[in-house]
Subunit: 203 residues, 2 copies
Protein backbone atom coordinates (compact mmCIF):
# COMPACT_ATOMS: atom_id res chain seq x y z
CA UNK A 1 0.00 0.00 0.00
CA UNK A 2 2.77 2.48 0.73
CA UNK A 3 4.76 3.29 -2.36
CA UNK A 4 7.25 5.39 -0.43
CA UNK A 5 9.01 2.99 1.91
CA UNK A 6 8.73 0.76 -1.09
CA UNK A 7 10.58 -2.53 -0.62
CA UNK A 8 8.10 -5.39 -1.07
CA UNK A 9 7.49 -7.16 2.21
CA UNK A 10 9.01 -10.42 0.96
CA UNK A 11 12.22 -8.67 -0.08
CA UNK A 12 12.46 -6.88 3.26
CA UNK A 13 11.95 -10.09 5.21
CA UNK A 14 14.74 -11.80 3.36
CA UNK A 15 17.06 -8.90 4.12
CA UNK A 16 17.80 -8.53 0.41
CA UNK A 17 19.08 -5.06 -0.50
CA UNK A 18 21.59 -3.58 -2.88
CA UNK A 19 20.44 -4.70 -6.35
CA UNK A 20 16.74 -4.13 -5.61
CA UNK A 21 17.29 -0.77 -3.93
CA UNK A 22 19.50 0.30 -6.83
CA UNK A 23 16.77 -0.61 -9.28
CA UNK A 24 14.19 1.28 -7.26
CA UNK A 25 16.39 4.38 -6.94
CA UNK A 26 17.23 4.29 -10.65
CA UNK A 27 13.52 4.08 -11.48
CA UNK A 28 12.73 7.04 -9.23
CA UNK A 29 15.45 9.17 -10.82
CA UNK A 30 14.36 8.22 -14.31
CA UNK A 31 10.69 8.79 -13.43
CA UNK A 32 11.30 12.31 -12.16
CA UNK A 33 13.15 13.19 -15.35
CA UNK A 34 10.63 11.62 -17.73
CA UNK A 35 7.51 12.87 -15.91
CA UNK A 36 8.90 16.40 -15.86
CA UNK A 37 9.76 16.21 -19.55
CA UNK A 38 6.72 14.37 -20.90
CA UNK A 39 4.00 14.93 -18.33
CA UNK A 40 2.00 12.12 -16.77
CA UNK A 41 0.15 11.09 -19.94
CA UNK A 42 3.18 11.35 -22.20
CA UNK A 43 5.50 9.39 -19.96
CA UNK A 44 5.44 5.64 -20.58
CA UNK A 45 6.52 2.92 -18.18
CA UNK A 46 8.63 1.55 -21.01
CA UNK A 47 10.49 4.88 -21.48
CA UNK A 48 11.12 5.28 -17.77
CA UNK A 49 12.41 1.73 -17.41
CA UNK A 50 14.63 2.16 -20.48
CA UNK A 51 16.11 5.36 -19.05
CA UNK A 52 16.74 3.56 -15.75
CA UNK A 53 18.30 0.64 -17.63
CA UNK A 54 15.98 -1.92 -16.05
CA UNK A 55 13.15 -4.15 -17.21
CA UNK A 56 9.72 -2.49 -17.42
CA UNK A 57 8.28 -5.22 -15.17
CA UNK A 58 10.27 -3.69 -12.30
CA UNK A 59 7.85 -0.74 -12.26
CA UNK A 60 4.97 -3.02 -11.31
CA UNK A 61 7.15 -4.95 -8.94
CA UNK A 62 8.33 -1.92 -6.98
CA UNK A 63 5.53 0.60 -7.42
CA UNK A 64 2.44 -1.30 -8.52
CA UNK A 65 2.25 0.70 -11.76
CA UNK A 66 2.65 4.15 -13.27
CA UNK A 67 0.50 5.96 -10.69
CA UNK A 68 2.41 4.43 -7.79
CA UNK A 69 5.72 5.35 -9.39
CA UNK A 70 4.49 8.90 -9.95
CA UNK A 71 3.40 9.20 -6.30
CA UNK A 72 6.72 7.81 -5.08
CA UNK A 73 8.60 10.22 -7.37
CA UNK A 74 6.68 13.02 -5.62
CA UNK A 75 7.45 11.48 -2.22
CA UNK A 76 3.77 10.85 -1.62
CA UNK A 77 3.66 7.90 0.75
CA UNK A 78 0.67 6.09 -0.67
CA UNK A 79 -0.35 4.24 -3.82
CA UNK A 80 -3.02 6.55 -5.21
CA UNK A 81 -4.65 3.93 -7.44
CA UNK A 82 -5.28 1.68 -4.45
CA UNK A 83 -6.43 4.66 -2.38
CA UNK A 84 -8.93 5.82 -5.00
CA UNK A 85 -10.27 2.29 -5.47
CA UNK A 86 -10.72 1.96 -1.72
CA UNK A 87 -12.60 5.28 -1.52
CA UNK A 88 -14.80 4.46 -4.51
CA UNK A 89 -15.66 1.04 -3.08
CA UNK A 90 -17.55 2.76 -0.25
CA UNK A 91 -19.91 4.51 -2.68
CA UNK A 92 -20.98 8.12 -2.77
CA UNK A 93 -22.56 8.19 0.65
CA UNK A 94 -20.17 9.80 3.13
CA UNK A 95 -17.28 9.79 0.66
CA UNK A 96 -16.29 13.33 1.73
CA UNK A 97 -15.58 12.30 5.31
CA UNK A 98 -13.83 9.11 4.19
CA UNK A 99 -11.48 11.13 1.99
CA UNK A 100 -10.55 13.46 4.87
CA UNK A 101 -9.99 10.55 7.27
CA UNK A 102 -7.84 8.70 4.76
CA UNK A 103 -5.62 11.72 4.07
CA UNK A 104 -5.25 12.45 7.77
CA UNK A 105 -4.28 8.85 8.50
CA UNK A 106 -1.46 9.06 5.95
CA UNK A 107 -0.28 12.56 6.82
CA UNK A 108 -0.67 12.45 10.60
CA UNK A 109 1.59 9.38 10.67
CA UNK A 110 4.48 11.46 9.31
CA UNK A 111 3.32 14.73 10.92
CA UNK A 112 3.13 16.15 7.42
CA UNK A 113 6.93 16.08 7.05
CA UNK A 114 7.14 15.24 3.33
CA UNK A 115 4.31 17.70 2.64
CA UNK A 116 6.39 20.65 3.73
CA UNK A 117 9.11 19.71 1.26
CA UNK A 118 6.48 19.31 -1.47
CA UNK A 119 4.98 22.75 -0.75
CA UNK A 120 8.41 24.36 -0.79
CA UNK A 121 9.22 22.69 -4.08
CA UNK A 122 5.87 23.47 -5.71
CA UNK A 123 6.21 27.16 -4.83
CA UNK A 124 9.79 27.30 -6.14
CA UNK A 125 9.83 25.18 -9.30
CA UNK A 126 7.40 25.14 -12.20
CA UNK A 127 8.27 21.48 -12.76
CA UNK A 128 7.03 20.60 -9.29
CA UNK A 129 3.89 22.67 -9.78
CA UNK A 130 3.25 20.76 -12.99
CA UNK A 131 3.73 17.43 -11.26
CA UNK A 132 1.34 18.48 -8.52
CA UNK A 133 -1.25 19.52 -11.11
CA UNK A 134 -0.98 16.15 -12.76
CA UNK A 135 -1.06 14.33 -9.47
CA UNK A 136 -4.33 16.01 -8.53
CA UNK A 137 -6.00 15.74 -11.94
CA UNK A 138 -4.74 12.54 -13.47
CA UNK A 139 -3.94 10.44 -10.46
CA UNK A 140 -5.94 11.46 -7.43
CA UNK A 141 -9.11 13.59 -7.56
CA UNK A 142 -9.60 13.46 -11.32
CA UNK A 143 -9.57 9.68 -11.14
CA UNK A 144 -11.92 9.79 -8.20
CA UNK A 145 -14.31 12.22 -9.90
CA UNK A 146 -14.34 10.16 -13.10
CA UNK A 147 -14.88 7.00 -11.06
CA UNK A 148 -18.01 8.58 -9.60
CA UNK A 149 -19.46 9.28 -13.06
CA UNK A 150 -20.50 12.86 -12.28
CA UNK A 151 -20.65 16.03 -14.39
CA UNK A 152 -17.74 18.53 -14.48
CA UNK A 153 -15.17 16.08 -13.12
CA UNK A 154 -12.25 18.46 -13.68
CA UNK A 155 -13.85 21.35 -11.79
CA UNK A 156 -14.87 19.00 -8.97
CA UNK A 157 -11.36 17.56 -8.81
CA UNK A 158 -9.85 21.04 -8.61
CA UNK A 159 -12.29 22.09 -5.88
CA UNK A 160 -11.47 19.00 -3.83
CA UNK A 161 -7.80 19.70 -4.43
CA UNK A 162 -8.21 23.22 -3.11
CA UNK A 163 -9.74 22.07 0.18
CA UNK A 164 -7.34 19.16 0.70
CA UNK A 165 -4.25 21.22 -0.14
CA UNK A 166 -5.55 23.97 2.17
CA UNK A 167 -6.14 21.48 4.96
CA UNK A 168 -2.58 20.24 4.55
CA UNK A 169 -1.24 23.80 4.62
CA UNK A 170 -3.18 24.76 7.75
CA UNK A 171 -2.64 21.55 9.73
CA UNK A 172 0.98 20.74 8.88
CA UNK A 173 2.74 23.71 7.29
CA UNK A 174 1.22 26.82 8.90
CA UNK A 175 0.10 24.73 11.91
CA UNK A 176 -2.85 26.88 12.85
CA UNK A 177 -4.74 25.92 16.01
CA UNK A 178 -7.21 24.47 16.71
CA UNK A 179 -6.89 22.69 13.34
CA UNK A 180 -3.25 21.69 13.83
CA UNK A 181 -4.04 19.41 16.77
CA UNK A 182 -7.75 18.76 16.28
CA UNK A 183 -8.85 15.13 16.52
CA UNK A 184 -9.41 13.56 13.08
CA UNK A 185 -13.12 13.20 13.95
CA UNK A 186 -13.44 16.97 14.35
CA UNK A 187 -11.60 17.65 11.10
CA UNK A 188 -13.56 15.00 9.19
CA UNK A 189 -16.95 16.24 10.36
CA UNK A 190 -16.06 19.86 9.60
CA UNK A 191 -14.38 19.37 6.22
CA UNK A 192 -16.00 16.13 4.97
CA UNK A 193 -19.24 17.89 3.94
CA UNK A 194 -17.22 20.35 1.83
CA UNK A 195 -15.70 17.54 -0.23
CA UNK A 196 -19.05 15.79 -0.36
CA UNK A 197 -20.60 18.90 -1.87
CA UNK A 198 -17.72 19.45 -4.32
CA UNK A 199 -18.08 15.86 -5.54
CA UNK A 200 -21.81 15.32 -5.58
CA UNK A 201 -23.88 18.54 -5.41
CA UNK A 202 -25.00 20.71 -8.32
CA UNK A 203 -22.33 23.39 -8.74
CA UNK B 1 -6.98 50.80 1.19
CA UNK B 2 -3.81 49.21 -0.12
CA UNK B 3 -1.15 49.02 2.51
CA UNK B 4 1.42 47.68 0.11
CA UNK B 5 1.96 50.46 -2.42
CA UNK B 6 1.63 52.61 0.56
CA UNK B 7 2.31 56.27 -0.13
CA UNK B 8 -0.69 58.34 0.92
CA UNK B 9 -2.40 59.87 -2.09
CA UNK B 10 -1.62 63.42 -0.97
CA UNK B 11 2.09 62.66 -0.66
CA UNK B 12 2.14 61.00 -4.06
CA UNK B 13 0.40 63.93 -5.72
CA UNK B 14 2.92 66.36 -4.36
CA UNK B 15 5.74 64.18 -5.70
CA UNK B 16 7.29 64.05 -2.20
CA UNK B 17 9.55 61.03 -1.80
CA UNK B 18 12.84 60.29 -0.09
CA UNK B 19 12.13 61.06 3.57
CA UNK B 20 8.69 59.47 3.54
CA UNK B 21 9.79 56.36 1.68
CA UNK B 22 12.72 55.99 4.06
CA UNK B 23 10.37 56.19 7.02
CA UNK B 24 8.08 53.63 5.48
CA UNK B 25 10.92 51.23 4.67
CA UNK B 26 12.41 51.64 8.15
CA UNK B 27 9.02 50.85 9.68
CA UNK B 28 8.63 47.71 7.54
CA UNK B 29 12.09 46.46 8.53
CA UNK B 30 11.46 47.17 12.18
CA UNK B 31 7.99 45.61 12.01
CA UNK B 32 9.27 42.34 10.56
CA UNK B 33 11.87 42.09 13.32
CA UNK B 34 9.52 42.98 16.17
CA UNK B 35 6.57 40.88 14.96
CA UNK B 36 8.83 37.86 14.56
CA UNK B 37 10.30 38.37 18.01
CA UNK B 38 7.19 39.36 19.96
CA UNK B 39 4.28 38.00 17.94
CA UNK B 40 1.33 40.11 16.88
CA UNK B 41 -0.08 40.70 20.37
CA UNK B 42 3.26 41.36 22.01
CA UNK B 43 4.50 43.80 19.40
CA UNK B 44 3.53 47.41 20.10
CA UNK B 45 3.37 50.24 17.62
CA UNK B 46 5.54 52.20 20.02
CA UNK B 47 8.28 49.54 20.06
CA UNK B 48 8.27 49.22 16.28
CA UNK B 49 8.45 52.98 15.77
CA UNK B 50 11.26 53.25 18.34
CA UNK B 51 13.25 50.54 16.57
CA UNK B 52 12.73 52.35 13.26
CA UNK B 53 13.76 55.63 14.88
CA UNK B 54 10.57 57.42 13.85
CA UNK B 55 7.52 58.82 15.58
CA UNK B 56 4.78 56.30 16.41
CA UNK B 57 2.24 58.47 14.57
CA UNK B 58 3.99 57.47 11.34
CA UNK B 59 2.49 53.96 11.67
CA UNK B 60 -1.02 55.34 11.35
CA UNK B 61 0.08 57.74 8.66
CA UNK B 62 1.65 55.09 6.44
CA UNK B 63 -0.24 51.92 7.33
CA UNK B 64 -3.46 52.93 9.04
CA UNK B 65 -2.48 51.04 12.20
CA UNK B 66 -0.89 47.88 13.51
CA UNK B 67 -2.92 45.45 11.33
CA UNK B 68 -2.07 47.37 8.17
CA UNK B 69 1.61 47.43 9.10
CA UNK B 70 1.50 43.70 9.79
CA UNK B 71 -0.12 43.01 6.42
CA UNK B 72 2.40 45.20 4.63
CA UNK B 73 5.27 43.47 6.45
CA UNK B 74 3.89 40.20 5.05
CA UNK B 75 3.57 41.81 1.60
CA UNK B 76 -0.21 41.39 1.71
CA UNK B 77 -1.55 44.17 -0.49
CA UNK B 78 -4.60 45.13 1.50
CA UNK B 79 -5.48 46.70 4.83
CA UNK B 80 -7.11 43.77 6.64
CA UNK B 81 -8.96 45.91 9.20
CA UNK B 82 -10.72 47.82 6.44
CA UNK B 83 -11.37 44.60 4.54
CA UNK B 84 -12.93 42.86 7.54
CA UNK B 85 -15.08 45.90 8.34
CA UNK B 86 -16.28 46.00 4.76
CA UNK B 87 -17.19 42.29 4.81
CA UNK B 88 -18.96 42.56 8.17
CA UNK B 89 -20.96 45.57 7.02
CA UNK B 90 -22.77 43.33 4.52
CA UNK B 91 -24.11 41.09 7.30
CA UNK B 92 -24.10 37.29 7.49
CA UNK B 93 -26.20 36.71 4.42
CA UNK B 94 -23.97 35.74 1.50
CA UNK B 95 -20.79 36.61 3.39
CA UNK B 96 -19.07 33.45 2.07
CA UNK B 97 -19.35 34.54 -1.55
CA UNK B 98 -18.36 38.10 -0.69
CA UNK B 99 -15.16 36.87 0.99
CA UNK B 100 -14.19 34.81 -2.06
CA UNK B 101 -14.90 37.69 -4.45
CA UNK B 102 -12.90 40.12 -2.33
CA UNK B 103 -9.87 37.84 -2.13
CA UNK B 104 -9.98 37.15 -5.86
CA UNK B 105 -10.18 40.86 -6.63
CA UNK B 106 -7.00 41.48 -4.64
CA UNK B 107 -5.10 38.41 -5.83
CA UNK B 108 -6.19 38.33 -9.47
CA UNK B 109 -4.89 41.89 -9.87
CA UNK B 110 -1.34 40.70 -9.11
CA UNK B 111 -1.85 37.20 -10.59
CA UNK B 112 -0.99 35.88 -7.16
CA UNK B 113 2.64 36.98 -7.46
CA UNK B 114 3.28 37.94 -3.83
CA UNK B 115 1.41 34.83 -2.68
CA UNK B 116 3.98 32.52 -4.23
CA UNK B 117 6.74 34.24 -2.26
CA UNK B 118 4.66 33.96 0.90
CA UNK B 119 4.03 30.24 0.39
CA UNK B 120 7.73 29.62 -0.24
CA UNK B 121 8.63 31.54 2.88
CA UNK B 122 5.99 29.91 5.08
CA UNK B 123 7.16 26.44 4.06
CA UNK B 124 10.81 27.32 4.69
CA UNK B 125 10.85 29.45 7.84
CA UNK B 126 9.07 28.90 11.13
CA UNK B 127 9.01 32.69 11.61
CA UNK B 128 6.98 33.08 8.45
CA UNK B 129 4.66 30.27 9.46
CA UNK B 130 4.11 32.02 12.78
CA UNK B 131 3.35 35.31 11.06
CA UNK B 132 0.87 33.56 8.78
CA UNK B 133 -0.81 31.93 11.79
CA UNK B 134 -1.17 35.29 13.43
CA UNK B 135 -2.34 36.94 10.26
CA UNK B 136 -5.16 34.40 9.91
CA UNK B 137 -6.18 34.30 13.57
CA UNK B 138 -5.56 37.78 14.93
CA UNK B 139 -5.93 39.92 11.86
CA UNK B 140 -8.11 38.32 9.24
CA UNK B 141 -10.50 35.41 9.88
CA UNK B 142 -10.31 35.49 13.66
CA UNK B 143 -11.34 39.12 13.58
CA UNK B 144 -14.08 38.31 11.12
CA UNK B 145 -15.38 35.36 13.17
CA UNK B 146 -15.37 37.41 16.37
CA UNK B 147 -17.13 40.25 14.55
CA UNK B 148 -19.92 37.84 13.66
CA UNK B 149 -20.47 36.85 17.29
CA UNK B 150 -20.62 33.10 16.62
CA UNK B 151 -19.51 30.07 18.63
CA UNK B 152 -16.06 28.48 18.14
CA UNK B 153 -14.55 31.50 16.38
CA UNK B 154 -11.04 30.01 16.35
CA UNK B 155 -12.11 26.75 14.71
CA UNK B 156 -14.23 28.66 12.19
CA UNK B 157 -11.34 31.00 11.43
CA UNK B 158 -9.00 28.06 10.86
CA UNK B 159 -11.51 26.31 8.60
CA UNK B 160 -11.96 29.46 6.51
CA UNK B 161 -8.19 29.80 6.42
CA UNK B 162 -7.85 26.25 5.10
CA UNK B 163 -10.21 26.87 2.18
CA UNK B 164 -8.85 30.31 1.29
CA UNK B 165 -5.22 29.20 1.50
CA UNK B 166 -6.12 26.13 -0.59
CA UNK B 167 -7.86 28.30 -3.17
CA UNK B 168 -4.76 30.49 -3.40
CA UNK B 169 -2.54 27.41 -3.79
CA UNK B 170 -4.69 25.87 -6.54
CA UNK B 171 -5.42 29.06 -8.50
CA UNK B 172 -2.06 30.84 -8.30
CA UNK B 173 0.70 28.50 -7.13
CA UNK B 174 -0.19 25.06 -8.52
CA UNK B 175 -2.35 26.71 -11.24
CA UNK B 176 -4.72 23.81 -11.66
CA UNK B 177 -7.34 24.13 -14.39
CA UNK B 178 -10.20 24.84 -14.59
CA UNK B 179 -9.76 26.71 -11.28
CA UNK B 180 -6.70 28.66 -12.41
CA UNK B 181 -8.60 30.56 -15.10
CA UNK B 182 -12.19 30.19 -13.93
CA UNK B 183 -14.27 33.38 -13.86
CA UNK B 184 -14.59 34.81 -10.34
CA UNK B 185 -18.36 34.12 -10.51
CA UNK B 186 -17.70 30.40 -10.94
CA UNK B 187 -15.19 30.33 -8.10
CA UNK B 188 -17.42 32.39 -5.80
CA UNK B 189 -20.48 30.26 -6.36
CA UNK B 190 -18.53 27.03 -5.86
CA UNK B 191 -16.45 28.05 -2.83
CA UNK B 192 -18.63 30.74 -1.24
CA UNK B 193 -21.02 28.20 0.33
CA UNK B 194 -18.07 26.44 1.96
CA UNK B 195 -17.00 29.62 3.79
CA UNK B 196 -20.63 30.38 4.57
CA UNK B 197 -20.98 27.00 6.26
CA UNK B 198 -17.66 27.34 8.12
CA UNK B 199 -18.75 30.72 9.47
CA UNK B 200 -22.41 30.21 10.20
CA UNK B 201 -23.52 26.55 10.33
CA UNK B 202 -23.46 24.23 13.34
CA UNK B 203 -20.14 22.40 13.20
Amino acid sequence: MTAEDGAPAAARRRGRRPAGEDTRAALLDAARAVFVEQGFDGATVRAIAAKAGVDAAMVNHWFGGKEGLFAAAMQIPVDPAALVDELLAGGLDGIGERIVRRFLSVWDASRGGPLIAIVRSVSSHEQSARMMREFITKVMFGRLARGLDIDQPDLRAALCGSQIVGLAMIRYVIRLEPMASAHPDVVASAIGPTLQRYLTAAL
